[in-house]
């Protein structure tokens, strides 16, 4: 009691610690890595650039899904809606309206966020597992609507024509830089959001929703905001994915497999950690490269690993690392540091 009073009057005895040694080292190494990757077109083979494009777009998708499920408790199985909307948004603005190809990517992302508003209004009426299927149904609605619009190619889809106006190599480089920006941007946005008020609100909601609400946390508004950010991120990633693939088809663009991959990556890497999706995407790519010859068995294995990790190691691979080492590359929590430990607190 007396110690608390002293602390209030005299020099502060406690300090809020928001960075760790690992995070400072990680920041420097991370900036170096991003700089090296940004210079990728200068020193990396074109085929590797293509792999990296899908790596960074998947990283963005997984990070967005993690923000939804791992932090806001919104287990969506309908994020493919935004991948598809991003792809078709790009197609519509670049080909049908003739806007600049790369500007169209950004607009496609915004369209996804816009569509997310009515989607959330409906889906938020459901909770838990029913929210999951509800988002899936709404994604199916978007797929079926797009499949029935002949201007967008109907069920057989269309090829992005605007892309052919650019030189092949120049387009690859630009797509790569966009993918890098979307992937790294997703991680940075998630990190910044979680370090701010929103992060505190989400933590409070996760721990005790009713109590958080009674203390003035806007539960609905907070979750809604996260949903919009995730929709924007997934649409942007979807547009970049199809800027690379060029051929857009409703079955593929709105496939639930997109969300399945996000789930596998996040669960294996570590749900509810920012490091998790990064580790998960790396593991996912290594597995894909080594096991691609095994066809459907590969997905059986991936599913089994995800189930086992969920049941036995809830916080995934990064959780195991963090528990052993205490590392935190992206510290979002506030730790109290005792400046005068001798006072016997």
């Amino acid at each position: 009691m007396s110690a608390t009073r002293e602390a209030a009057v005299a020099a502060p005895a406690l300090r809020v610690q928001r960075a760790t040694l690992a995070s400072r080292v990680g920041l420097i190494l991370g900036l170096l890595a991003v700089a090296l990757l940004a210079a990728g077109p200068l020193w990396v083979l074109d085929s590797v650039l293509r792999t990296l494009i899908s790596f960074f777009t998947l990283l963005a998708l997984a990070t967005m899904w993690n923000l939804l499920a791992g932090y806001a408790g919104l287990v969506s199985i309908g994020q493919q809606a935004y991948v598809g909307l991003g792809a078709y948004g790009l197609l519509f603005f670049a080909d049908t309206l003739g806007l600049n190809l790369f500007l169209s990517v950004l607009i496609a992302g915004l369209v996804g966020a816009l569509v997310a508003i009515p989607t959330a209004a409906l889906a938020f009426r459901l909770r838990g597992g029913y929210f999951a299927i509800g988002t899936w149904v709404i994604a199916e609605v978007y797929r079926l609507v797009v499949s029935n619009v002949s201007q967008l190619g109907g069920g057989s889809g269309l090829t992005l024509r605007a892309a052919s106006e650019y030189d092949r190599t120049a387009r690859l480089f630009a797509t790569y830089e966009l993918a890098l920006a979307v992937g790294v941007g997703a991680v940075v946005v998630a990190y910044v959001l979680l370090r701010r008020r929103l992060g505190l609100a989400l933590t409070a909601i996760r721990d005790a929703e009713a109590s958080a609400q009674s203390l003035g946390v806007h539960v609905f508004r907070t979750k809604f905001l996260v949903y919009l950010v995730a929709a924007f991120g997934c649409s942007l990633a979807g547009a970049v994915i199809y800027l690379n693939l060029l051929r857009v088809q409703p079955e593929a663009a709105f496939s639930v497999n997109w969300t399945a991959f996000m789930i596998f990556i996040v669960v294996i890497g570590g749900v509810g950690t920012i490091e998790g999706p990064i580790i998960g995407t790396i593991v996912f790519f290594v597995l894909q490269e080594t096991l691609s010859g095994y066809g459907a068995w590969y997905l059986v294995l991936l599913g089994a690993v995800a189930v086992l990790v969920t049941l036995l190691a809830r916080r995934g691979l990064w959780g195991l690392v963090a528990d052993r080492t205490g590392w935190s590359l992206f510290p979002v929590q506030r730790r109290l540091q005792d400046l005068h430990p001798s006072e016997g607190r």
């Binding site: 287990v75 838990g128 597992g129 029913y130 299927i133 149904v137 079926l144 459907a296 068995w297 991936l302």
Partner: protein, 290 residues
């Protein structure tokens, strides 16, 4: 007057949807578990029936005698060996992730074992036989049988839940798991029996689906979605609501398909979204979706 025929065919189709929705509704009612592998498990039942019919030349309807108890066993073991662990704690994430993972595993295992080819179960003459009511209206015997079986399964379940000792245990664990446990109810066993019964109804639904139409390893999610829509349209926690939801969904899809072939499934989705927007408790439900 073709729309009369459409409505009748829609109602008959709705019988099948109600059959699919029963198990989903039961599992959610007893343990608040949404089984995302629900549809895939019905396709497993259809493939098991197919394997039996291939080995022994019998009418696929007889395979119900084997497949239904088998799926009860699968459900019991699945719940005790896996799903009960996912339900520990109040976190909503693990049940969704585990059953979604299971769904992916089942689809791809079926794909490896049975290939992606379309399959069907041939039940012989009953598939084509129909009762002619007028020139424009005929009721197929098999769709009628499906609807009757659907109603019978729902009525049977309603009786079990309201009249038996097991049903009382279901209601007690559903209301308050902790207190039910204190009263000597083994909730892990109760949950396992509930999943067993749910998968038994799923087996019936899967085999009837296989007779009615063709199936592939990848059609499970569509079945899950229709079952879910029937449950939400009818109202969560209401057995007869599930029947009503199935019928409404069937009629919506049949009428939608009349407007344009591509709009059948979409019309069903839109009815579901309309219910969610304007009557989130469902047609006969008493509680809000939780």
């Amino acid at each position: 007057m073709t729309w009369v025929n459409d409505v009748v065919q829609g109602l008959l189709l709705g019988g099948l949807y109600a059959l699919f929705a029963t198990g989903l509704s039961l599992m959610f009612g007893v343990m608040r578990l949404v089984n995302l592998a629900h549809g895939d498990l019905s396709i497993v039942a259809a493939f098991v029936a197919l394997a039996i019919v291939d080995a022994v030349p019998v009418n696929p309807l007889w395979t119900l005698l084997v497949v239904v108890p088998l799926m009860f066993g699968v459900g019991y073991l699945l719940q005790r060996g896996m799903l009960n662990f996912a339900l520990r704690g109040a976190d909503p994430l693990p049940p969704v992730l585990v059953t979604f993972g299971l769904s992916i595993i089942i689809q791809n295992l079926l794909l490896e074992v049975f290939s992606a080819d379309s399959q069907g179960l041939d039940a012989g003459r009953i598939e084509d036989a129909s009762i002619r009511i007028s020139d424009r209206l005929a009721v197929g015997w098999f769709p009628l049988l499906t609807l009757v079986v659907g109603i019978a399964v729902l009525a049977g379940l309603q009786l079990v839940i309201s009249r038996t000792r097991l049903g009382r245990a279901f209601r007690a664990t559903s209301d308050d798991q902790e207190t039910a446990r204190l009263m000597g109810i083994d909730d892990r066993n109760v949950y396992a029996v509930a999943t067993g019964i749910a998968l038994a109804t799923v087996a019936v639904a899967g085999i009837f689906l296989g007779i009615r139409t063709t199936f592939t390893p990848s059609v499970g999610p569509t079945r899950l979605i229709f079952a879910f829509e029937a449950v939400v349209i009818g109202g969560l926690g209401s057995i007869w609501g599930t029947l009503a939801g199935g019928l409404v969904l069937g009629v919506a899809q049949t009428l939608g398909a009349q407007i344009s072939p591509g709009w059948g499934v979409l019309a069903g989705h839109l009815v579901f979204l309309a219910v969610l927007a304007f009557r989130p408790t469902g047609l006969l439900g008493r509680t809000v979706p939780a």
